[in-house]
Amino acid sequence: MNRRENLKLLFTGSLASGILFTGCGPETAETVEIPHTPKIGEFGSYGRTPQEIIHNENLKSSTFFTEDERKKLDILVDMIIPADDTSGSATGAGVPDFIEFMVKDIPSYQTPLRGGLLWLDHKSDEMFGNIFLEISEDQRIQIIDLIAYPDTAKPENQSGVKFFNNLRNLTATGFFTSEEGFKDLGYVGNRPNAWDGVPEEVLAKHGLENDPKYKDVYLDISKRGTIAQWDDNGNLIG
């Protein structure tokens, strides 16, 4: 069996019994029974204890944001993470639901976010004579520009800056920890694989190399199924 086939087995998990055959000749044949084929994701209680399940359900059973606050939140998170050529928007990725959960999970978020959402109405009324939900998209951008750039924002808008920093953090985290966010980032991990070092072309691009001194020391991934044995001096033999 060659390395590619070996990898294919790992990736597809096609052997339901989880048995991994390795070794290319009869002299090195070893059979390793892996107790379980790795399971990936999803569903179930993601390993919660009974107390944790109750705690999570309790948090989910109440609602913090009012309907109007939710409408404002929907607008704001999509201003922060809009859909683009690469991926969808924050609302599409369920970010407002995530924020709704987080403010109950970390209650210290509640007052700053609620206060900040109200501050937007105050500013909106001051500038345009109407609440945030009723002004135009262009007018909203004018307000957000006052609070989106911490290094240059005016002192009188500092509380708005703080609010928007919080919201930017929550929105970015909510989006990039969603399935859509993984797609956006091109994150391809969290699955069984066989690490064999940085790809050659990436090494070349950065002018780096694996230390030749360790050439014969590093893991030879074709031997991942062969039980290790040592001589008396701790040298790996076979």
């Binding site: 390993g47 989106a148 985290t173 990039f176 399935e179 690490w195 360790y214 039980i227």
Partner: protein
């Protein structure tokens, strides 16, 4: 380890566990290979301190199980209430103590020597290596003994940058030594499939935890009974002062039970074992079991720790590929300045992190201060904050460009740092709790200062933009609070003199011949190495001694 060795010798063993049974292979317990969106908090550490998917069930604060601190003292005590305890989520860094680490007093005059030497422990390290498995490279460094290593994985991209930068300033960077199976050691455990999630517990047992690799296999032979949700109150003794068993409270029915035994082996963690001994007062042991020296609880010491991070512009806007690797660093820096004259006595090693890890709660944050470092295609710096497509793009470009390093060092064990029973406070089982007395000395502060100087040296050498500022004296040079590194040891230290130690060199209580302690309590000094491998080796050594003494009818 003791349960396995003793059971294999044919002894009946009762394992008493304060938490629930735990097996990461069970679907109900599994957190491994789950994406962040399975957690409504996306992996945030609100419930479990190291994140929602971390294996540790417990934490710094456990409801109904308080502890107290003396005025002016800082100490945080982490407990995992589950089979396998803290070995379920630990960093798997498996370093042997070196010859020098057992005899530090001979070298710098501080603290105390161990009553045993590296030569006494080496055969057990060899056995632990082969039973459990640890990858690494033979380096021939005097105080970093080589072992029976599995092959180490190749470095990740940021680790190659670190190596290149560290080379320029003559700081060694070598393959790390982690108890993760890059190749199998037996037919019962699988081989690492590189998901980077050892801290979540491995469903195919490709990393070491005491539950999956020792207790469960020991139980298969039918010699081991596991008592879960059982909180030990005290060790019972007879008129001769010998241990006769333990009493425990079942968390399920809140009733107290007695368990009789010929030999009692404590492995509850350094502080919990000390607590049990101190709470085990009797006519023969008025100050607590085996405590006429007054030393139980004393010489408590944790590793030092300080961290720094930076951004590597060379890694901005990177090619994507699966870089998860094993559940920890692929390279590390062993202590390299033993012979140098420094303003602190003991050393530290450096652990590294960074790269394209799986996004979790907190990811994408901090753009209000860090976006300035994200340069566009034309090399123009970004503007902090912002929103919209530009922000989204910059987070994408920024992904995988951060690197960090953590120094983990040796503190000096001192009599003044200790835990004792707080007779004013009990836990919800009615057991008196621990009160901690702990302060850092200049030794640890100066070491942390040196760590930060080293971090800046390496980060600068590799061309990184450093984040944050180097912490000064006002911030204790960024030194973490005692207890935070979760390497606390020393509370029942071994020694040849019963007046200044609790255990003899076989981890047998000086004053109670059938009581043994097999956790970090026996440590005389902790080295800059993580304690697990030495706990395992010492526990094996102690277990063989128990078998020998039983055979000779000495106990």
């Amino acid at each position: 380890m003791a349960s396995k060795i003793l059971a294999e010798a044919g002894l009946k063993v009762a394992v008493v566990e304060a938490g629930a049974d735990y097996d990461p292979a069970l679907e109900d317990h599994r957190t491994q290979l789950r994406p962040p969106w399975e957690s409504p908090r996306r992996g945030a550490g609100t419930v479990r301190p190291f994140g929602d998917f971390d294996a540790a069930i417990g934490g710094w604060d456990i409801e109904g199980e308080p502890y107290t601190r003396a005025e002016g003292s800082e100490f945080d005590w982490f407990r995992s209430r589950m089979l396998g305890g803290r070995t379920n989520h630990w960093g798997r860094i498996s370093l042997r103590f070196g010859p020098l680490d057992f005899k530090r007093k001979d070298f710098d005059g501080l603290g105390e020597n161990w009553p045993i030497s590296y030569e006494d422990m080496a055969p057990y390290y060899d056995k632990v290596d082969q039973l459990i498995g640890v990858f690494g490279s033979k380096e021939g460094i005097n105080n970093e003994p080589d072992g029976h290593f599995l092959p180490p994985p190749k470095p990740r991209l940021h680790e190659l940058f670190i190596k290149k930068g560290a080379d320029k300033v003559n700081i060694p960077v070598i393959p790390s030594r982690l108890s993760i199976l890059t190749r199998p050691v037996n037919n019962d455990r699988g081989t690492c499939f590189f998901c980077n999630q050892c801290n979540r517990g491995c469903q195919i047992y490709a990393d070491f935890s005491a539950g999956t690799c020792l207790v469960k296999p020991a139980m298969k032979k039918g010699q081991v009974d596991l008592f879960t949700m059982s909180m030990v109150r005290k060790v019972m003794t007879n008129d001769q002062g010998e241990a006769t068993g333990v009493t425990y409270i079942s968390k399920l029915d809140m009733q107290e039970y007695k368990l009789s035994a010929r030999v009692v082996v404590l492995g509850a963690s350094a502080c919990e074992s000390a607590r049990i001994m101190l709470n085990s007062k009797s006519a023969n042991h008025p100050d607590g079991l085996g405590n006429s020296s007054g030393h139980v609880g004393h010489y408590l010491h944790d590793s030092t720790g300080a961290d720094r991070m930076g951004i590597l512009p060379d890694m901005m806007d990177r090619e994507r590929y699966n870089e998860d690797g094993v559940g920890g660093m692929h390279v590390y820096t062993p202590w390299w300045l033993n012979e140098k004259n420094l303003d602190f006595a003991r050393g530290y090693h450096i652990e590294y992190w960074g790269g394209m890890g799986m996004p979790s709660y907190g990811f994408g944050g901090g753009m209000d201060t860090m976006r300035q470092h994200v340069k566009d295609e034309f090399g123009n710096p970004g503007v902090n904050g912002g929103y919209g497509e530009g922000l989204k793009k910059d987070i994408r470009r920024f992904y995988g460009s951060t690197v960090g390093m953590s120094g983990r060092g040796e503190s000096i064990p001192r009599y003044e740092n200790y835990c004792e029973i707080d007779d004013q406070v009990v836990d919800k089982y009615g057991i008196p709790v621990l009160k901690f007395h702990y302060t850092w000395s200049d030794q640890e502060l100066n070491q942390a200062k040196h760590m930060h100087e080293t971090f800046e040296e390496i980060l600068t050498s590799m061309g990184a933009v450093m984040l944050g500022n180097k912490p000064g004296a006002d911030k204790q040079y960024g030194l973490h609070k005692p207890g935070r590194i979760i390497h606390e040891v020393g509370t029942t230290r071994m020694g040849n003199d019963p007046k200044t130690s609790v255990l003899n060199k076989y981890s047998q209580a000086h004053e109670c011949k059938n009581l043994f302690v097999v956790d970090g309590g026996a440590f005389v000094s902790q080295a800059d190495k993580n304690p697990t491998w030495t706990i395992l080796a010492n526990s094996w050594r102690t277990s063989e001694y128990i078998i020998d003494q039983l055979n000779k009818k000495n106990i």
